[in-house]
């Protein structure tokens, strides 16, 4: 039986400094950012971390985490991260991106960053649409999914098939760790923390690129209640974007 002490992580910006989440009800970002903050505290690397804010709702990371932050244009977070890490190899470098950013406009950059084996960590929040701009279809949108740009559901013959980021990133030789988790129930949220922890560790040990794709709810754009959004992840999205660890080069070591 473990004892959990619930306190506000130091790496979360304090309320008096303007912190405090303002995401939509049921949005996954808050849980994920808090998890990241807890891990930065646990590794004691808050003051040595540079995070890259991307474009989309993920950009709010800059307002909620108490970290040095560099901004990046659409899809270029891992490039900015590469420039930082190559100059400051002792800093912990983290990109926080959505599926629109890392898997759509910036997927070329994601793949090349993985192939170069950059010692950085990417947390990609996949809510299967462009959240901030109002719920348009992204590369990860599922077949049949209704979005503002696929009002009759995504059709393969019109807009192709969903992109499975974590699986593709796992194919790159420079990737040390690639996994998909979900912000849905307690079990999955605990798995989320373990998984992100692993992705942090591969950077801290200098093993290569760490990539975590997190399925997260976007009830506002999905036109669902928060509860329905959780069910959507569990019952629908997971069947298209399955959870799992697709690459973990530390496994060989630990065996």
């Amino acid at each position: 039986m473990e004892t959990l002490v619930y306190k506000r992580p130091e790496s979360l910006l304090k309320a008096e400094k303007g912190g405090g989440f303002t995401f939509c009800p049921g949005c996954g970002h808050g849980v994920i950012l808090r998890t990241i903050a807890e891990l930065l505290d646990e590794f004691n690397i808050q003051k040595d971390t540079i995070a890259i804010a991307s474009v989309g709702c993920s950009v709010f990371m800059e307002r909620f985490l108490d970290l040095d932050v560099a901004g990046a244009s659409h899809g270029r977070s891992t490039c900015v991260a590469t420039g930082i890490k190559r100059c400051k190899p002792n800093n912990f470098v983290l990109t926080y991106q959505g599926d629109g950013d890392a898997a759509t406009i910036g997927f070329n950059e994601t793949i090349h960053t993985a192939c170069r084996g950059e010692h950085i960590t990417t947390i990609m929040i996949n809510n299967t649409n462009f959240g901030m701009t109002g719920g348009q279809a992204s590369a990860t949108t599922m077949l049949g999914q209704v979005t503002t740009t696929t009002p009759y559901g995504r059709k393969a013959e019109e807009t192709g098939y969903p992109l499975h980021a974590a699986e593709i990133v796992a194919q790159c030789e420079g990737t040390a760790y690639s996994a998909r988790v979900a912000v849905s129930d307690t079990k999955n949220i605990r798995a989320l923390k373990k998984t992100i922890k692993k992705a942090f560790e591969v950077q801290l040990k200098g093993l290569g690129y760490g990539f975590v794709e997190v399925l997260a709810g976007c009830p506002t754009n999905w036109h669902m209640t928060p509860t329905e959004a959780v069910e959507q992840i569990e019952n629908v999205i997971k069947t298209v974007h399955p959870l799992g660890v697709f690459k973990d080069i530390t496994e060989k070591e630990s065996v």
Partner: protein, 360 residues
Amino acid sequence: MAKELVKGNIAIARAAINAGCQCYFGYPITPQSEIGEYMGAHLPQMGRVFVTAESELASINMVIGAGTTGAKAMTSSSSCGIALMQEALSAMCIAEVPGVIVSVMRGGPGLGNIAPSQGDYFQALKGGGNGDYKLIVLSPSTVQEAIDLTYRAFYLALKYRNPVMLLAEGMLGQMMEPAEFGEYPYKDPDVTQWALGCSHNREARNLVSLYMPEGALEAKINKIFEKYELITKNETTYEEYMLDDAKLVLTAFGTVGRIAKAAVNKAREVGMKVGLFRPVTLFPFPDKELHEVAKNTDLILDLELNKGQMLSDVRSAVFGACPVEFYGRSGGGLLSPDDIFAKIQELYEKIDNKKAAGVV
């Protein structure tokens, strides 16, 4: 240090290394690939950073990352490659991230050709990126000046926390002439007041290009434009040649500036009072200085390897003080000293005729 024979592209690369360039990010494109090749051969050996990026989009954003840490970072490319960087250049200006961009122009539009061109004056000066911003743009006309301005580019980037573009032509990149490197002559400013990295003894900070709260963006733009005024006051540089009694003044930048000088010499040999005004900094553009020149001459002839791009800045500087004519070639055609001399003869006659007729 003695002068040595050196090619323009190599001179720029070597000067960047001398200037303390810690990292180079780039993607190959003619006519400047030798810069990346030289960097690739030398930077890693020196324990510095060299990355061949997947695209120009990636390379300029890697420069941004390096720049946010206060490192001296650079990329180099040519016309269509520079086009891909415009979004990032705009972001760098508003986020106040330093960096050096070497643009060795080729023929455009499109893939164009690899012949000498100055078709990217607008791209460098008027921006393909969004919003109100300015790059500091330096324009070398000789290999020696390419070295000196590369040094200056790194210094100015850090001093003003703004991207600095060295705008050269393929001709300068490909040509060789004697030059000397000397030492990097500047004392770099402290970056610890703004650079990202270790935040143990200070508040966390950010360098971003998104300013959502009401009034925030306007305030930031006003701040960088105050800086641009300071840059104009401090850094405007130009060359004047044989202007004292000139009735006809040529304006030209980069290598066209030196070719125009040959035409001035030729005109002077036959007694024509012709001079040259060559902006070295394109931003800041020497507006006031050119205006003074215009007040004391009968005609300005602007020469460019394009359809008339700097011309708009020349006209706005002259502001009616004298007539402005344009002569240029685009798409790879060169302006030779003889071409320019022929144009000088044609216009010089007009000045004399007008004078005789009492028009001027």
